[in-house]
């Protein structure tokens, strides 16, 4: 093995899941002491790739070489023994245990029958001093802030002698300060010779800390560049791409009176972190407002708040003059359609038939129910009509929705939500994981809703989609609207810069 043998090399890795190719002939090279950024949108295949490197998934094709030698994929335990460790997006820490207990778990120092806590604490202290990662071994993990928990995860890897560290979206859960600290730690670690693969979709972090960047897009590696030669704009372009030309015939918007207004809106996530920090928005009848932004910047919470699913912490939102309450049904009754981001989990009941899913929000109203009794002929009639009109490819309206393809599932939701007249349409990632034909169809439906006078709030991480549909663009970054732009006069590079927190 020579000095320039890469620490890790992946050649032609391919992984297929039912219905999708998650990774398609991906190559990757990592050297000792190097930080490699792995950049891509959600669903681009980053997680699948590193899970193969770490031994969780078995590649269907291709090979992995560690220190120049081909390795077979024998599970995480074997990977750890070889010096590969991974810090998962969801921490693999046991919350009620102490820092030291978490770090030594599985390789505990023992004295006789007893677990030697003193020795564990000493070892942890020693490593934490050696790498400059300050932690108190006796602290209980669940009482630590997230940033420190992550540090424990990294120490866990170092305790096991990791030479290669994979971090899966490590900054997704961190505050900006914690992020800066993490990036500094990674630089120091790399200086000691550890090779690091750093997954993110935030451009600033990539530019800040990596030596090289590999960009994934729709399961394929679309390029590897030296960070020094990259700019936000060039990376953004690689990341969002422009291969699929989305053509939608659309006339100029004719906005009239405002339908949705938010004022100083603040929303917290389940862990009480404020993810929407004072958003003022106005969406008018007859226009599409596109919210562009990298995922995790508060879009989900914003949408859930205006649809009544999540409580508003401060400020307020009104729809056609009515205050939005924490009650999804009352919001719907104002004439609001909602296409949620996670269709399988939030938008559909998988075991239900297409027909039942089509009345999931209107099952209790006439003509689908009278005095609490469901009216099946009316439901069947509606389902037959909508399946035809929205081109849902299915053997029958009684088919369980779970057996449909992604595009057809989404068409069921779109049919349910857009087949009636709406005041406001909230569409969150409406074409994620949907085939190209369905994308065009769904886009046309959104335009039609606008032309019929609805106000449309579109949230999308795909710039193509935003540019294809939006009459106005608002860019969200860290819970705030950082720019409002006119799609006719702005460029995708400019939007990308705002999305990345620049500009």
């Amino acid at each position: 093995m020579t000095n320039d043998t890469p620490l890790l090399e992946a050649r032609g890795l391919t992984k297929r899941f039912p219905g999708v190719i998650a990774n398609d002939q991906v190559d990757l090279v990592l050297h000792r002491g190097e930080i490699l950024g792995l950049l891509g949108e959600n669903g681009a295949g980053k997680s699948t790739l590193v899970k193969m490197l770490f031994g969780i998934h078995q590649p269907d094709e291709g090979e992995i070489l560690l220190r120049g030698e081909r390795i077979t994929n024998d599970g995480p335990g074997e990977s750890i023994a070889r010096g590969i460790s991974m810090v998962h997006q969801h921490f693999q820490l046991v919350p009620p245990l102490t820092v030291a207990e978490n770090i030594v778990l599985g390789a505990e120092p023992v004295r006789g029958l007893r677990f030697d806590k003193g020795a564990a604490n000493d070892r942890v202290r020693e490593i934490s001093e050696r790498y400059g990662l300050t932690v108190e071994p006796t602290d209980v993990v669940e009482q630590l802030p997230v940033g420190l928990q992550q540090r424990v995860e990294i120490l866990k890897a170092l305790y096991r002698g990791a030479e290669l560290l994979i971090l899966d979206e490590p900054t997704a859960v961190l505050t900006p300060q914690e992020t800066d600290e993490l990036l500094a730690i990674l630089r120091d670690l790399a200086a000691t010779g550890v090779g690091i693969i750093f997954i993110t979709h935030k451009l600033r972090e990539v530019l800040d800390v990596t030596d090289r960047v590999t960009v994934l897009r729709r399961g394929k590696s679309v390029g590897t560049v030296a960070t020094a030669e990259a700019t936000s704009a060039s990376l953004a372009e690689l990341m969002v791409g422009r291969s699929v030309v989305l053509r939608v015939d659309k006339t100029a918007a004719e906005p009239s009176e405002p339908v949705l207004t938010t004022s100083e809106l603040r929303v917290r996530d389940d862990r009480k972190r404020e993810l929407v920090s004072g958003v003022d928005l106005e969406v008018r009848s007859g226009e599409i407002l596109g919210i562009a932004g990298v995922e995790g910047n508060g879009q989900r919470e914003l949408v859930e708040a205006v649809t009544g699913v999540r409580p508003i912490h401060a400020g307020h939102a009104t729809i056609v003059g009515q205050r939005v309450a924490h009650d999804p049904r009352s919001v719907r009754e104002l004439g609001v359609a909602y296409i949620p981001e996670d269709r399988e989990r939030d938008g559909l009941v998988g075991v239900y038939s297409i027909a039942d899913n089509l009345v999931l929000t209107s099952y209790h109203t006439a003509p689908f129910a009278r005095t609490g009794v469901r009216q099946f002929p009316a439901i069947r009639q509606l389902a037959t009509k909508l399946v035809e009109r929205f081109d849902v490819r299915t053997p029958s309206i009684e088919t369980p929705v779970s057996s449909l393809s992604g595009g057809n599932k989404q068409k069921v939701i779109v049919a349910r939500e857009l087949s009636v007249e709406n005041q406001l349409v909230v569409a969150s990632q409406p074409t994620r994981g949907v085939d190209v034909g369905s994308i065009e169809f769904i886009h046309q439906q959104l335009i039609d809703a606008r032309d019929k006078g609805a106000a449309v709030l579109l949230v999308s991480a795909e710039l193509d989609e935003i540019f294809a549909l939006a009459d106005r663009i608002a860019v969200i970054y860290e819970g705030r609207i950082v720019a409002e732009l006119d799609p006719n006069t702005t460029s995708r590079e400019e939007v990308g810069l705002y999305m990345a927190g620049g500009g």
Binding site: V94, P95, L105, G106
Partner: protein
């Protein structure tokens, strides 16, 4: 928690003293009965604790205890025909621990291999135990009496003597086992891994802990403890009766919850349940208050629900309890 524990201990001592001044005979009777009634609950509660700490809900404790009492009784009863009563009792203990451990392994197997719902699997054990123990039960057998080990000298002390130093071996054993489980859970590698597996199995899995093997081991250990709990029932009854557990296996779940999944807590909660049982039993004989005895009987169960419902009382079960672990 130490201060609360101390406070409760102090309160108990004061209350006992005052009560003893008022009516020494009744107080002594209730106090002694409290400890006696607590013993099977302690052991059964620890069975639940060892299972749930590793992530498996065990509502089959009732059935495990019943099977254990049955096999313990039969074992001792047949063995005494060819040996002395002490070795015969040991045979009974081994039989009791073995059968309950097998039931524990069955629960682990249905959960790990068959991916059966753990509550349904526990119910299977309970129904089976009621049926099988009655089906094979033959009237008229006897077993050697479990001796009473009173501590000479100490058992003469007023109140405390009868309360603490005049019991059968399984009562002393129950208290000893609390200490053993405490040390094992918080100071050994097994304990660390058990807590990790019950809280966050994938964290344990990714660092190479063999979680399924650990769950089998724990369910077997828990079963052995339920076996001792069954013997503790025989200690007071001296004979096997149909359905003699009479819900104690379910009460053990409540004991475990009020005890916050900690051995010391299980001890305290079992004593609390034992106290209310003893009080209720004593009041059946002598009407001391206007409060009907059944209301004392209700208190521990209402308390269990209240403890679970009140957030922040740290009644937090192991996070992964009841969930099947998916290996990717």
């Amino acid at each position: 928690m130490i201060t609360l524990g101390r406070g409760l201990t102090l309160f108990t001592i004061v209350a006992l003293t005052i009560s003893y001044q008022i009516d020494d005979i009744q107080t002594t009777a209730v106090a002694a009965r409290t400890v006696r009634e607590a013993a099977p609950l302690i052991l059964a509660g620890l069975c639940g604790l060892v299972s749930e700490r590793s992530g498996i809900i065990n509502i089959g404790i009732e059935g495990q205890m019943l099977l254990a009492a049955f096999c313990g009784f039969l074992g001792a009863s047949y063995a005494v025909e060819s040996m002395g009563s002490t070795p015969a009792l040991l045979v009974g203990v081994l039989a009791a621990m073995a059968v309950a451990a097998v039931a524990g392994l069955f629960l682990a197997w249905t959960s790990i291999k068959l991916r059966m719902d753990q509550i349904i699997a526990g119910t299977v054990i309970n129904i089976f135990a009621i049926g099988a123990t009655s089906f094979f039960f033959a009237q008229g057998r006897t077993m050697p009496k479990v001796p009473n080990w009173s501590v000479p000298g100490l058992d003469e002390w007023p109140l405390v003597g009868r309360m603490l130093f005049d019991h059968g071996p399984f009562t002393y054993l129950a208290i000893l086992v609390v200490a053993i489980v405490h040390v094992a859970l918080f100071h050994t590698r097994w304990g660390l891994r058990t807590r990790a597996v019950g809280e966050h199995p994938s964290a344990a899995d990714t660092v190479g802990v063999r979680i399924f093997r650990l769950r089998y081991v724990n369910l077997a250990i828990g079963g052995a403890l339920a076996g001792l709990a069954g013997m503790a029932l025989l200690q007071s009854a001296s004979v096997f009766n149909r359905g003699m557990t009479n819900g104690k296996g379910f009460i053990a779940l409540a004991v475990m919850i009020i005890g916050r999944w900690r051995p010391g807590g299980v001890l305290a909660a079992a004593v609390l349940f034992g106290f209310f049982n003893a009080l209720q039993a004593q009041l059946q004989f002598k009407q001391a208050f206007d409060i009907p005895p059944q209301f004392f009987g209700m208190i521990p169960f209402v308390l269990t629900i209240a403890v679970l419902a009140a957030a922040g009382l740290s009644a937090r079960p192991p996070a992964a309890v009841g969930q099947h672990y998916e290996t990717e």
